[in-house]
Symmetry: C2
Subunit: 165 residues, 2 copies
DNA sequence: CGGTTCTTGCAACCCGTTTGCAATCATGTG
DNA sequence: CACATGATTGCAAACGGGTTGCAAGAACCG
């Protein structure tokens, strides 16, 4: 409905960035292109919803140590290749970010089956700006996630594990 | 600016509920009025911003075990005396809730000094409703928190501990 | 007042995440 | 293309918020 916070001319999630482009970005930030890093990026580029460290580690199938996954996602976040999300359960999630897009967007999470729907909409930026002015805050940003029960779960077919409200 | 999600006729945070009223609410939910519970409620009623378990435990000054604080906040949340918030650092925060108000609101957090400003504004409910319809989700709700740098921190006087972005 | 049931304190434990350390590897330099 | 060197990895131990089993200690009811 609204323009997603100013950015988002295109649905970034449909794009699948080539792996070489990603590793190039790594090099440009003087980070080494290692096996684990390529593997992690490759896992991420073929997923459209945010993945946890554990998810990624599992998808890697014994490809590298869990600690390495944690360290690398931290690094990737630092270099801006990846964006961190907090969907309310205790675990951080990550999504690849395109160079032209800062990746700001939101999610709609099913509290029963943990299904995640990508949301591009956002409230108008004036809202946030007015808050910033009113309270004299600088460099303001926000974090917004939606929760509910997806149609399948509402219909009764509970399946996997739940999430908090 | 906007009507805060439909509720919030009054700035609930300015009210300081009498302790007896709170313990009465406990009894009405057939929960025992114990020392630790009164102490916790008393700490909460004289604070306007959300407190973590650790905060409360500290404010209690060795009044009761930390595990008891955790258990009681869980209980208090369950009976609707308290509302849980997630300000992005790993720790849950709690605020007292008035009987007429469900406590839904948001916060503006300084990423440098952790100052928390209470925010009553919210985007119009139609926004959320349209999302629910579009994705066929039921019982939809949201979690929204703002982050930025408060004027004091922006001016240079960094003081206590920071928070994530 | 006495019994029943709820609560508490304590210590052990869970889970996501971080970290120290020695071994290994990616890179640029010659 | 071989090397030196600092970045990166694997492993295991440590962390921090939070939970839990258990026996002792209250609330509350009659
Ligand atoms: Mn997403
Ligand atoms: Mn608040
Ligand atoms: Zn679902
Ligand atoms: Zn500040």
């Amino acid at each position: 409905m609204n323009n997603p916070c100013g950015q988002h001319q295109h649905p970034h999630r449909l794009i699948q960035q080539p792996l070489d482009e990603l590793t190039d970005r790594l090099r440009r930030h003087s980070r080494r292109v290692t096996g684990p890093r390529q593997a992690i990026l490759d896992v991420l580029r073929r997923h459209q919803t945010p993945m946890s460290n554990r998810d990624i580690h599992a998808a890697l199938g014994q490809g590298c140590d869990l600690a390495t996954v944690y360290r690398n996602l931290h690094t990737l976040e630092g270099v801006g290749l990846v964006r961190r999300f907090d969907l309310g359960d205790g675990a951080a999630r990550f999504e690849l970010v395109t160079p032209e897009d800062d990746g700001h967007h939101h999610h709609l999470v099913c509290t029963r089956c943990s299904l995640v729907v990508e949301i591009d909409d956002c409230f108008p930026p004036e809202f946030e700006q007015s808050l910033a002015q009113r309270h004299r805050f600088a460099r303001i940003s926000h974090r917004l996630e939606f929760f509910g029960v997806c149609s399948r779960c509402e219909a009764g077919e509970s399946r996997p594990g739940p999430v908090e409200a």
